[in-house]
Symmetry: C2
Subunit: 653 residues, 2 copies
């Protein structure tokens, strides 16, 4: 596909983009005619098609390419699972209440919005106005942001605010409360004081079955569904690690007061990979393929020092230097980068940020977020966490079901140790029902204790004491202790889990921002330059009119495109060809085919490219072949221009 | 694909199928290591792949082929939506409680199980034993069915039971209670009496947001998400009907005591179409294409008469005779038939049953179910309901948002009628604030009343009475009434909705039953003869061993297949080629490619067909082309056998 030529003619205008997305029904507030519910959105035809194309590309890039095992597990989950996983106790955000109105706000968002507004006011007072579109943005979202007023702050206060904002995700609830008191942060909508932060669990609760006795939660992530099936997955993979399971599905988080469109929602589609790996060997077989991929990295040390300055570094170098902990983590960060840029995310607006220690989810030992910059700032769109053995261990401990890998050792491990052997008959005769107690005591002894006992027995008698204080005297006819050789040929271990987790709605929204621009000659004419691979419709067929005479050709072209695997739509609505193309530029349709009287007479068609609006002309079959190759990515627009003559407006009229 | 040759060698054995599905992780009880939860299942790799292939075929067959508008709406739904739709009041099943243990049972299932068991016992007593696999089946599901005991029943009781069972879905809750009393139906597990039937709402309840003040439900169907977006969809379709929206997504029903595997679950993926049509014109443009499709029909009159005898009839004839109400309904029944048989459902075990009047959902005016026969009997897998204008009307009335089509009339409708015209100035002066009341009274009058008033005014004065009994005297200077011509150029109407609604899990399970058989020479060797179009993996690549020397060829073949759009897997596990093929017969993989030393020396491969186990041999590229065409369905196995020589076991060794 050709690069958009005019993309920079107008500054990005969020209001126009939002109007376009609403007008063309990419998505809309769910239950809109009932007044809507915050944080719930419905995807219309272009939005759901864009989403399903992103999913389909994700499946190819990750599942098919790497032979991952796909799963589809349930959303409704009985409470004990999330009690074990730690979500019932810890999957919560801190909220504060407006002390007069009772309005509920998320504590960290409140601190962020108020401090950012004060810094903006300070800039204004110092005569350093923010960029115009940011201002406009702020006006639109007045409810969401504290209104900036032009008040200059002392330099040290500015520095303090900036430091707080750089590590905002690192504060606990009580610390956020402390910040509110110290910096007199109130509800910006009412100026009322707010309560101490309280925890609010983000899982939606329900009840399973007719008796009301089985509490359940809607999953806040798909991950537990993978972990609970680990034994079956391992078995399916013939007992070998590493391997990965993958799942695309809906999850739910009862957000406190979502106000950021698709970026913070209560119900969302996610795509998660759980890659199971030997904790002693986190190398990756295909790491060499991504070694040279260069990423923008923002590690935790830089952030704790109050900075947000990224470092450009190849994945290979980052792993070598220990910035990224291991090859497997590095491999996935690079693969995430390749996926996001393939579907159209601007690589200059994509960075990888490491979590600070207090920020990490309770199950993670290390975590990097792929953050995409959009009009609201940098947004976490993919998390890539090392969950270590946390989940498999807690579920295994709780249920008694081993979630482990058993691996035949190439070289058996040979060890020598002291081993007691009982003469059970004599022991039973001598001690009756205490014989079992005695065996348990001896079997539970460590090497040193056994050696001591062995020595005493060699002297004639030995005395041991039970946990309830009773003493037993043992003699060599009751047991012997000897040094024996043990051969271990199986190694058993709980694998570690590296988890790339994608929030598809956030990626989709950021992609729409990155793709949107207006034509140089008319700011009203918006274009979404979506790559063909994810565009909702690949080809628009535009007959000159809805007249019957064009129908056979439309059917022929549609059917040939369908056979070539290209999804097309016909627009024969009662409006000019130009307006129809403009509408489809808004829908992101990369190519258009015009069918007119020349098509009937000469069997020619014109081929239009969305971004340049250039048109070529050729025979119907030539054009179909060319557009199919354009969409498959096997040729680009420059090559198409070499193949087919430019349409100068005369050939076909 | 060749037809399975040995399919009839062994009778269907459900126990073997279930063992296979469990062993190969097609699906398993969710939260199994926590003891599981009734009615919740996870799909493993082959199951989720089978499901996503069925979905992908569904998308092609319905959405792409007919240009439907796809949607993706939220599951979590605020309570007012389901209050309006009627689900809060009426989406319920009847349950009874065991009076001693408190166990909860679904009332209609209880009646069915107990009466069927008595009829089975009667048959046994009369020496008319049921078929062997059904007996075995019953043993396995002892918990689910009442245990039959060999007691002969009087002929008239047998007739009565059969009559009840034929119209079981037609009974109300109180009627089911009456049946339990009359026929002494108790809980078969305990022999205890059961309570009167009570309604239990099947929606899972939750609460949206942190305040607990916004009750919500998980949707029990995706349909409401379509209806609430009707205006936007119509707009997207340029204001024209008919058109259809389509959605594939998760829905939830808190079933009372689900025990039937994938056939009755609490969380399931459904695919729903809402086809919006002019209520005065339910013809269908493409009806001609399906006119001659012959269906097995079971209409409501036959059932109410106590029979389950189907009639074979073409869709054209059924619509002509009024058995199927209209072309659109008939069109979809035929398209459903074509879809189900394309993915592998046995057409001889597929029938279309019309709902009886009491059985219909509260929103439906007519409904046909596509029922598929499996080991549990005939199971509803697709419902095809005419919801008329019910949903759009109730939501429109509740919200005040018009959900209507406005259509320009080709010929404007011209009508003449009496029209009052007020002299508002004089009216205001004379009557003050009662002027409005007077206008409302007169504007609300029908034609006859206006004519009467006009006559009186011509006489000089007229008296009208308000609803609260006050009288007003009118004179010709206050208003005149004249006959005027009105031209209506827009017709406004609420479209009717025809809804085909697919339960994908039920279809998937029935398909697995229809596909399963055992090899003639070894009943332990199960095969799933899934059509290539839905098979989880299309091609298995089997190298002679995991040795490094085969790797370049494996990579070449995998990559060429991937380029041809064919999903393959490699099995290089440490077991014989025969065992690896047997494992993949269980997974339903239609074709296998063997790579051995001859492949390295001569660049040849063998191609194995799953059902016949026949093997052909050819050059690597020939075999790849052939297998690709086999999978695309452009050639069949007979054609492949003409192209490539049979492998006799010598060429490649």
């Amino acid at each position: 596909m050709a690069k958009p030529v005019n993309k920079i003619a107008h500054p990005f205008d969020k209001t126009r983009l939002e109007a376009l997305l609403n007008r063309r029904f990419f998505y809309a507030p769910a239950f809109e005619i009932y007044g809507g519910v915050a944080g719930l959105y419905d995807y219309g035809p272009p939005g759901s098609s864009l989403q399903s194309n992103i999913i389909s590309e994700w499946r190819k890039h990750f599942i098919v390419e790497e032979g991952m095992l796909e799963l589809d597990t349930t959303i409704m989950t009985p409470a004990p699972v999330f009690e074990t996983s730690g979500h019932v106790a810890r999957f919560a955000d801190w909220m504060v209440k407006d002390l007069k109105t009772g309005e509920v706000l998320r504590a960290d968002h409140l601190v962020k919005n108020v401090l950012e507004a004060r810094l903006a006011g300070d800039k204004e007072a110092r005569g350093l106005a923010a960029q115009p579109q940011k201002d406009e943005d702020k006006k639109k979202k007045r409810k969401d942001k504290a209104k900036p007023t032009a008040v200059q702050l002392p330099d040290e206060v500015v520095a303090e605010y900036e430091n707080i904002l750089a590590q905002l995700d690192n504060f606990s609830g009580p610390e956020l409360g402390e910040l509110c008191r110290k910096h007199k942060i109130t509800n910006p909508d009412t100026d009322n004081e707010v309560s101490e932060p309280q925890q609010f669990n983000l899982m939606f609760a329900s009840s399973i079955g007719p008796t009301g006795q089985h509490p359940g939660f809607l999953r806040p992530e798909t991950a537990q569904g993978h972990f609970l099936n680990f034994s079956r997955l391992l078995d399916f993979n013939n007992g070998r690690v590493p391997f990965a399971s993958a799942q695309i599905g809906r999850s739910f988080r009862n957000e406190i007061s979502p106000r950021a469109g698709l970026l913070r929602v209560r119900e969302f589609t996610m795509a998660e990979i759980e890659h199971y790996v030997d904790p002693e060997d986190k190398t990756h077989e295909r790491f060499g393929e991504v070694r040279d991929v260069v990423l923008d990295l923002l590690d935790r040390n830089v952030q704790v020092a109050g900075s947000t300055q990224v470092t450009k570094m190849s994945v290979g170098e980052a792993v070598d230097k220990g910035v990224i902990a291991n090859e497997t983590l590095g491999y996935f960060l690079a693969r995430i980068y390749l996926f996001l840029t393939k579907i159209g995310i601007n690589p200059r607006r994509l960075r990888f940020r490491q979590h600070m220690s207090n920020e990490m989810a309770h199950y993670a030992t290390d975590c990097w977020d792929a953050e995409i910059e959009n009009s609201t700032g940098w947004t976490e769109c993919v998390g890539c966490a090392d969950r270590a053995a946390y989940d498999l261990t807690v579920h295994s401990n709780k249920t008694g079901h081993p979630l482990v890998v058993r691996q035949a050792l190439k070289e058996p491990i040979v060890t020598e140790k002291e081993a007691p052997e009982f003469n059970k008959k004599v022991l039973g005769k001598t001690f009756g029902k205490d014989a079992g107690t005695i065996q348990n005591i001896v079997n539970g002894m460590d090497e040193a204790a056994l050696l001591r006992l062995k020595g005493e027995l060699l002297q004639g008698t030995a005395t041991i004491t039970s946990s309830d204080g009773r003493e037993f005297t043992l003699t060599p006819d009751l047991l012997t202790i000897e040094r024996k050789t043990f051969k271990q040929s199986i190694r058993e271990f709980t694998p570690n889990v590296i988890e790339p987790s994608f929030g598809l709605g956030r990626i989709l929204y950021s992609l729409l921002e990155h793709s949107f621009w207006s034509r140089e000659d008319d700011v009203e004419r918006g274009v979404l330059s979506l790559p063909a691979v994810v565009a909702p419709t690949k080809v628009l067929i535009v007959p000159l009119s809805a007249k019957e005479e064009f129908s056979p050709l439309i059917r022929e072209v549609s059917s040939k495109l369908r056979q070539a695997g290209v999804f097309s739509r016909v627009d024969d609505s009662n409006t000019s060809i130009g307006r129809r193309y403009a509408r489809n530029d808004e829908l992101g349709t990369p190519y258009g085919l015009t069918i007119d009287f020349a098509s009937i007479q000469n069997r020619t068609m014109t081929l239009r490219e969305r971004d340049t609006t250039d048109q070529l002309i050729g025979s119907i079959d030539e054009v179909i072949t060319t557009v199919t190759e354009l969409i498959n990515g096997s040729i680009d627009w420059a090559e198409a221009c070499r193949r087919l003559p430019e349409y100068d407006g005369t050939q076909a009229v």
